[in-house]
Symmetry: C3
Subunit: 135 residues, 3 copies
């Protein structure tokens, strides 16, 4: 089963989407299986992180922005703006797909794990995700 879902990213940063993915799993109505989430963009990422304390996500964002700053003379791919190439690099260092087993009809996340869409562009926008659920 495949679903295409749209998420509106307001701008740079992590946004929890666990509830959206859980809804897809509920609709699939499968006891055991595998849920794969795939992001159809190269300037944002999907990530599983701690969802208990928002400071973990904020620090993650600060750290990666410092590692991949906008003003770097190494970039030649700059026609879409100063956040274009850093976004591709950040996406390359993280993931654009996640696969999570479904156990007893529920997503097999650990106690403190949440699924996040990590937007790397300033302006954000609509992001398309494909959710595949199989046995």
């Amino acid at each position: 089963m495949n679903e295409c879902i749209q998420v509106r990213a307001p701008g740079q940063g992590l946004q929890e989407i666990t509830a959206l993915i859980k809804d897809c799993v509920s609709r699939a109505n499968l006891r055991e299986g595998l849920c794969t989430v795939f992001l159809q963009h190269t300037s944002a990422s999907l990530i599983i992180q701690e969802n208990a304390d928002p400071s973990a996500c904020r620090d993650l964002e600060s750290w990666l922005c410092r590692l991949v700053p906008e003003s770097d003379p190494i970039y030649t791919h700059t026609h879409e703006g100063p956040d274009d190439m850093p976004s591709h690099i950040k996406a390359a260092l993280t993931c654009s797909h996640l696969s999570i087993p479904i156990v007893s009809g529920r997503l097999g996340l650990g106690t403190w794990q949440g699924i996040f869409l990590w937007e790397h562009r300033h302006r954000g926008g609509n992001r398309s995700l494909l959710v595949h659920i199989g046995e």
Copy 2:
């Protein structure tokens, strides 16, 4: 088919778990399929690396600890200790799930590939992994 396995991580570093995953594949008794390993934690990683020479894993550990040091004034998420935020960042830069095809009843790893649990906390502990095997 899903299995939940527990691995005891003695502390920071890479620990090979290939044999454990091969055992799951044997029990599934499938000629062709896909094996997905998912880690239910956000301060450790799963990684496929060279298992012939242990110096490759040690260098990997040293390099990442230098890139993501504990004493960094950028961190605000520090209440669980100085290795807390570095662990989340290291997990974000690596993977928490792996998918490996099953070919002729065996895990399709290359000659020098091993599967490792990469613990990022000093104290380690029990880590839960879900292993999904599907067609």
Copy 3:
């Protein structure tokens, strides 16, 4: 269904392999499913990146080579040459497997997404990929 495909990497850099993977998907003749590509090596990566403008891939390569330079006294695993350990680190920071949903018989890539083999060794060589296609 599994296929093993060989790709000749001429040396360091990104090489688009989207057409090869699309061919596998066509042969599988499945309306809905999941395509997983797995690389059987630890000194190269698989990555989804922008395939419209080659400067994005070149900048990605330059940036990662600067982050993980060859002449680093931290390396002890050096007997296969100065590009050996950097290759393992680069592979650890990126991915060795990709999972992409199949929608209406086609790979569910976004408009600007391409699949690339990212070779990290200077000399390159033949690289083996397993492509699994399941429901």
